[in-house]
């Protein structure tokens, strides 16, 4: 800290020449001049004093016939010349620092994360309503208030956090996960898909189908409505109870597992002669600065100009009070044409692989595959080989459906 103040006030290194330099030191001491770094160099005393007390020290030296010679001067007061010469540079750097500080107190980017069903636009709009938008000043909103307002305005959220890092605002949300509404009233179990019944396990209700029966989507598999069979152990009804003989059907919430063979179909194709366009690997990058008035090229990497190329553009935009300013990077990838011929067997394999991968996407690896069947559906004269792959899968096709009692 002392060194800092020394730099601010300025430090002078002097040489005291004369008969009794100690005398100068003692007099300076009695007058409250702070001296340090006293060193004997060739019978002369060398020491350091603050630039403010150099005149007083010279006066003392004169009184006792000594001479003060300045060796070096350091610190802010001695930078005057430099400051005068470099005024433009210093002002520029000060303006730069101030501008940087000023601009960093605004939000330039707003990100949203954690949303699945709630739309990004909705979140951004709500945040903007409470003061968090591109170009908003950081002091103009309160973090907790915005978080609370987002939670209040959007019902489907259970948690919202506004994180501000530098010029970036990140809105992190967690959506509500509601439990599935369970059917509690009387219901059937119906088929969700066409299939052939493989196994029926009834937990409640009455089975409507049996093994190897073909069912269609919507067919009742386990019925929730049935008539109670007469219990042989129960005493027979008397003639007086004739009215009671009109037996009301029983309604239950049918439950059970109905497994059925279900077929999934996938389609794949492969051209026997294919013109492929591939990237060679060489590329050219150009960077542009786009202002509301003009688009100017900043620099280019890679000298080649390609005759046949793909172009990709990455745009980074900032909305400022003067309009949109963007930094665009255009990358050009060189392409090459390549004719590829497949034999029929190769084409079949490729087409089948494509069909199976498209099927697997549908099945999502949840089901056990029983058998797979491949069928070529294109004519031999065609230049393209089309394949249909069917997969037999055993799965539970039952789904509860409420009974409409009216």
């Amino acid at each position: 800290m002392d060194k800092f103040f020394d730099q601010v006030s300025g430090v002078v290194k002097v040489n005291i020449k004369g008969k009794r330099p100690e005398k100068v030191l003692n007099m300076a001491l009695s007058r409250g001049i702070y001296i340090w770094g006293i060193k004997n160099v060739n019978n002369n005393i060398e020491c350091r004093v603050r630039s403010s007390s150099i005149e007083a020290l010279k006066n003392i030296a004169d009184e006792v016939d000594n001479e003060i010679i300045t060796i070096s001067a350091k610190g802010l007061p001695f930078w005057k010349g430099i400051i005068k010469r470099r005024l433009g540079f210093i002002t520029g750097s000060l303006i730069f620092i101030l501008a940087l500080y000023f601009l960093s107190s605004f939000i330039w980017f707003v990100n949203v994360s954690g949303n699945e069903n709630v739309k990004r636009e909705q979140l951004l709009l709500t945040a903007a309503k409470y003061g968090v938008y591109q170009g908003a000043a950081k002091w103009s909103f309160s973090k907790t208030e915005v978080e609370e307002a987002i939670l209040r305005d959007i019902d489907n959220l259970t948690y919202a956090k506004l994180d501000i890092r530098g010029v970036k605002a990140n809105i992190e949300v967690v959506e509500k996960v509601l439990p599935k509404s369970e059917i509690t009233g009387p219901s059937h179990v119906v088929a969700t898909k066409d299939g052939v019944i493989e196994d029926v396990l009834v937990l409640a209700g009455k089975a409507n189908v049996e093994k190897d029966q073909v069912v269609q989507k919507g067919d009742i598999l386990i019925s929730g409505v049935f008539l109670l069979e007469e219990n042989p152990l129960f005493s027979p009804l008397t003639a007086d109870d004739e009215e009671l003989k009109i037996i009301e059907p029983t309604l239950v919430r049918a439950r059970g597992i109905v497994k059925a063979k279900v077929w999934y179909y996938g389609y794949g194709e492969c051209q026997l002669e294919k013109t492929e366009i591939k990237r060679t690997g060489s590329k050219q990058t150009e960077v542009f600065l786009i202002t509301p008035k003009a688009k100017s090229k900043l620099f280019r990497i890679g000298k080649k100009d390609f005759t046949f190329a793909d172009e990709e553009e990455i745009l980074r935009e900032i909305v400022t009070p003067f309009g949109k300013i963007a930094l665009a990077r255009t990358v050009r990838f060189e392409k090459m044409q390549n004719v590829k011929k497949h034999s029929e067997k190769e084409a079949l394999d490729i087409a089948r692989d494509k069909a199976i991968s498209s099927l697997n996407k549908k099945l999502k690896d949840k089901l056990k595959v029983n058998t797979t069947n491949t069928e070529v559906i294109s004519a031999p004269s065609e230049l393209i080989l089309r394949v249909k792959v069917s997969m037999e899968v055993i799965e539970d096709i039952g789904e509860a459906q409420p009974i409409n009692i009216e």
């Binding site: 001491l29 009695s30 702070y34 770094g37 004997n40």
Partner: protein, 119 residues
């Protein structure tokens, strides 16, 4: 030699000069000193404050702190004489430097060989 040395103190404390030089003054001083010493002993106050005694702290062989000094009498790279309220302190060594000099205290650095109290 001491006359020369004392002339160094002359400008620092004029009254002190006369006190040291005259017999009457010396007797008065001793009297005052013995009273102060008795008071300091009775009240258990540090003597360096009451009697204006020097306080020397030596750290290793290369650092010496001195409180309550009365000015520099002689300074060279090998010898340093410092005036005290009574007598003076002689420090001998090699490459002696006064790194801090303030009205009441100073810090001396360099290779210290001996520290002597002289009347």
């Amino acid at each position: 030699m001491y006359g020369e040395a004392l002339s160094g103190i002359y400008c620092l404390e004029e009254s002190c000069f006369y006190n040291i030089c005259s017999d009457r003054g010396r007797r008065m001083d001793k009297k005052r000193e013995s009273i102060s010493k008795a008071v300091a002993d009775f009240l258990e106050i540090p003597k360096d404050i009451v009697l204006d005694l020097p306080k020397v702290t030596i750290v290793g062989q290369n650092e010496l702190y001195l409180d309550n000094h009365k000015g520099i009498i002689e300074y060279s790279l090998n010898r340093l004489r410092i005036n005290l309220s009574r007598g003076f302190l002689e420090i001998e060594g090699r490459g002696l430097e006064i790194s801090i000099l303030m009205p009441d205290e100073m810090k001396i650095i360099g290779e210290i060989r001996s520290v002597k109290f002289l009347d």
